[in-house]
Every structure is written in structure tokens, then in C-alpha cells.
Symmetry: C2
Subunit: 267 residues, 2 copies
Amino acid sequence: VLIIGERINSTRGKIAEAIEKRDASFIQKEAKMQVEAGSDYIDVNTGALIEKESEGLAWLVETVQQVIDKPLCIDSSNSEAIARALKLHKGKCMINSITAEKKRFNSFLPLLKEHDCSVVALCADDSGIPATAEGRVEIASQIIEDLIAEGIALADIYIDPIILPISTEPKVGVVALDTIEQVKKKYPGVHTICGLSNISFGLPLRKLINQVFLIMAMQKGLDAAIIDPTYKHFLANIIAAETLLGKDEYSVNYINAYREGKLEIGG
Amino acid sequence: VLIIGERINSTRGKIAEAIEKRDASFIQKEAKMQVEAGSDYIDVNTGALIEKESEGLAWLVETVQQVIDKPLCIDSSNSEAIARALKLHKGKCMINSITAEKKRFNSFLPLLKEHDCSVVALCADDSGIPATAEGRVEIASQIIEDLIAEGIALADIYIDPIILPISTEPKVGVVALDTIEQVKKKYPGVHTICGLSNISFGLPLRKLINQVFLIMAMQKGLDAAIIDPTYKHFLANIIAAETLLGKDEYSVNYINAYREGKLEIGG
């Protein structure tokens, strides 16, 4: 599974402060730490800065790319902020995210056509987020068909089933898991992604819930996870899950990870 | 998921020694510890004692039932040992296990008809263990049909897909998981069970593999797991998994378990 490091997000107080102060070394340390922990992409999000979002995002793209080689996942619902960041980003990034909402979809589409990038698509439209997996798959299908018609490659689309808090409605976990499974079945070449942490909103020991849900999502065919990769349990579980799902001949990856100390999670 | 506590097994040196010495207090402590940790059944196995198996098993049944109220899972491939243990067991126990091997099936059948008990059935026959889920489901179907024809209730049958070491063949995990899913789909009233620990045979940090596999099996519909319940990670993961699978309205079980300190697994 691809790992998208989620730590550089302005909803975290220390990150917002570092962006505000243009503290490049703090941000760069966060980026390097996440790459060392196994991230394939580094997510950057300045949504909480509101009117300073676009400027902050541009600064983050340049600041982070000065010190790491991994691509960024540029995380904003604001197409102007995305456009500015895309001009600065070197290499092929991931855009996070579009929806089937008409205004949002239409504002992002020219950017996706102009730049070589992949894109996260949330299963929501102008009516909101469907309560059922079937409803979400319908939205995913519409987005996929529309993007393909515009020349976007299927493999560059990452469908996000949308994770809602399990504490408010016990079915939201199964709905998201079933959406992943059904989308992968209907479009074998498409990718799936999710931000995990919302699932545990409002509950104690959130990482316990998050890590169990990640294993379940991987079993359904999840291709990419937006997580805090510095939490070692995630990586250990991911490696064990990939071995158990038949992707590790003679358990070589698992044994190597053990020798490198990546599986030391106590207990 | 039902928890079958696996610790009282003569393959463990200290257990074999305690049985040999008829050290009732050691065995009773092991039984109580497992009940306190959440076991629904206590497995008792004396297979490693060979010619003393039957005598040892009978002693275990009486010794364990003196101190706990939970039923036992009487674990032997020897029908004489099972017959003797069944006469001593108070209440409805679980027999572990039959297969579709003709001799074994026929030697256990009269016992199952005579006593009110549930039974674990392994997906193996006289040709061995099929490499595919389809082959295992076929054996499970044959056992289920044969038992039902003899008057055994569907709900008293626990199908075990048979867990083999992932280190020797990367597909064995998926084959076992698919067997659970397909058996549950074909016979909605039947139960499924598995002994987890074989999956990690030969690998380091076996409990990491075991706990990830347990979550995957629960997602496929596993009804009972033969585990060491004193390893707190198992219980924490089970509670989180049940919450995520939609079986915990408003996450009440999860929050209560947290308050009772059951989820404290570090990390």
C-alpha cells in the first residue's frame, strides 16, 4: 500500500505556527522524518489558514521539495491554491481532492488536464455523501467516467470512499469498506485511497481503531493510506498484512523488516 | 467472536509437566486466568502425552471444571479420549475436532449423536488438505450435509478452514480467509472457527502476524478464535474490530472496554 504522510497539516497547531513564522527547518524536519518512516508521498495542507491558504501552500511545496525526493500530495479544496502549488511542484504530484460537486469538479478539471498528476476523488456530490456503498460507487463511477472522457488515465485516479466517525453511526465502517471493494471490482485499474483518522473521531485510543481499520481496508483492496507514518504500529501492521494477503514470497519482506527493526511494536 | 483459550495444551512444557505431576493448582490457575481474560471456552489438549492422552484429558476436564463455569473445548483426534472426557464434562462442551477422513468421522459420529455438544470440523479428508478455497468448501459442505443428515444442528458445527504457515506458501492466508467467507455464504447458519497461531509458524514476532490475521478473519465472518486470551492485543483488536464491523451501537462496548482498561496495549 502507498503511504501518504499526513503530518504537515495546518490543523495541527505546531504546523500552523511553523507556516505562519516561515520556519523552514521545522517543516523540513517533519517532511524528512516522514520519508524516513516510509512515506511515498508527503501530504501538505494549509486549509486552516483560510485566506492565507494559497500563499502558505505555495511556500510548503517549495520548502518541502528542497529536502526530499518524494512527491507531494497537494491537499486543498481550493482550485486557486492548487493551481499555484502545481506551478511550483517538480515532478508528478497527487492532487487531494476533487468531488462530483459540479463547481469543484469543473474548477479542478483544467488543472488535471494541464499537469501530469494523479488525483484523489471523494465519493460526494452536490447532494452530499450517500449513506450506502451503492450510492458512493455510483458517484465514483460518474467521476471515473467523466475523467476518462477528458483523457485522464484510470490509474491516476484514487477513489476515496470517505471515512466518517464510527462513534456516530456503526455502519459507516462497513459502508466505506464495501465501497472500496466494489469500486475495485467494477474498475480493476483504478486506485483507492483513504484518510483513516476520521473513523476514530470522538473515541479514546484512536490509533487502535485506525490501525485495525487500515488492515480491514487493505483486505478490501486499498491502494494508498493517508496516515502518520511515524507511528510504528501502522508500518508493522501494513507489512504483516501484505505478507498475509499473499504479496510476500517466503515472507522475505516481513523477515527483512524484522531484521531492520521495523516491526518492534512491543506487546 | 467467541474466544477459545488455548493455553492448556500439553505441547507447552509447563503444562505437560503439570499434567504429569497432577498439579491441579497450576492447571486451575491457567484456566481461571483465561476466563478472567475473556475466554468463552477453555481448550484442553493432551495429544503430546501419547499413550497417556486419554487419562490426562479426563483429569484435565475434572480439574478445570472444579474452578470455572465456562465450558471446555475438548481437543483430541482420538475418539476414545474424547469419549472418556465427554462422560466427565458437565454442560455442553465443544469437541475439537473431526475431519472428513472416513475413519475419524465414523469414530466421532456416535459421540456427537449421544452427547449435546458442538463440534469443530477441519476441511481435510483422506486425500489431505485441498490447496484451494473451493476444495476446502467442498469438504466443509460434505461434512455439514453428513452431520445434518445424522441430526446434528447446523449451529453446532464450527468449520475450521485449516491454517497453514504463511512462510512456506504465501497463498495459504487468502485460501483460509476465502474458505471462511464462502462457507458462511453457502451455509449462513453454520459457524466458523480457527486456531490462529499456525499462520505465523517459523516467523519472528508471531503475535504480530497472528493479530493481523485475526482481524482479517473476523472481517470474513469468523465466529470463534482459538487464541491465548492473556495477550491483551488480541482482545483490544477484537473489540475494535467488532466496533468497526458495525456491531457496536454508538461504540458503547469500545468505550466501556477502554474505561475497564482492556484496550491498554501501548504504542
